[in-house]
Symmetry: C2
Subunit: 195 residues, 2 copies
Amino acid sequence: MRICFVGDSFVNGTGDETALGWVGRVCALAYAHGFPITSYNLGIRRNTSADILERWENECSLRLPAGCDNRVVLSCGVNDSMLEDGALRVAPEQSRANVHAILRAASRYPLLMVGPPPMPEDAQNEQISALSRAFADEAAALGVPFIELFSPLVADAAYKQEVASNDGAHPRSSGYTKIANIIASSPNWWFHALL
Amino acid sequence: MRICFVGDSFVNGTGDETALGWVGRVCALAYAHGFPITSYNLGIRRNTSADILERWENECSLRLPAGCDNRVVLSCGVNDSMLEDGALRVAPEQSRANVHAILRAASRYPLLMVGPPPMPEDAQNEQISALSRAFADEAAALGVPFIELFSPLVADAAYKQEVASNDGAHPRSSGYTKIANIIASSPNWWFHALL
């Protein structure tokens, strides 16, 4: 079983001093539950949904050979919501269209989408929250399971404090552990303990 | 600081139930030594030196933006030495030429090469050993530091036993820990404890 995790710095695990990130943690948990998956971490710092739309197919096709149980997990959005020269890096309608295009084209694989996490600033969080809901709607319309990070994390003062005291964007290992636990405990996640 | 680790399943960490592989372990060690690096694991299962020659530049250029301290680590060779339909997947002279081409083109980045690890079979190990020496020669000719894995691991009965009792090619976490320790303790490695 081979899984490509496609996304941004949060997928990459930037800032995690253990070098696991949430991707490493959910994969180690899957292993422990009896699923020895091969994972490919395709998170790139500063990538927007537009950047991912450009590259995901080429990078995934090199890693997901015919004959394997191949899957794709997509997560993005925070970089779309960044202001650059006074404008959003990607307009919300375009973010939504990009995610729709990726999910539709990737539908030949079992797919999962993980929503964007919150940032420390309330103004950006309004953007992120709206994007997360829009991505959830797009995923639902295409029958793709969606795991939300925004609501549980925006209510978590310790998570936001860790991000603020780190680099202002990324958590460290305890925040990534929280993200991994949200994903691994979701009924939409693929790999639960075999009872 | 951003590092692309380009290579095969051993770079990917295939078989490691902790999901760290040697790449995750050397990055966590670097973090602990005061180097908060962003790492990109670009190891792909079954990739030969020819496969890597095709893709490394495109994938690295998307991850190593101007203005960062960008580095590349290359490791390959075991898949080149595999027999398929009675022939080596890549002939030794071609493997050497591929590695030369990658190292020369990547010389705009600080570079490091890690040699291929041994396999359980003596016949394949003759090929791997010769490739490791050839890659070391190519690296030396281009002034690229090289860290050998073959000699210390081929003499390690516990390593070979772990590989043989796993899938016949990849170690599990204790083997990857050994590889990480060989790399992290090499004078050619970049990130040692600040004294």
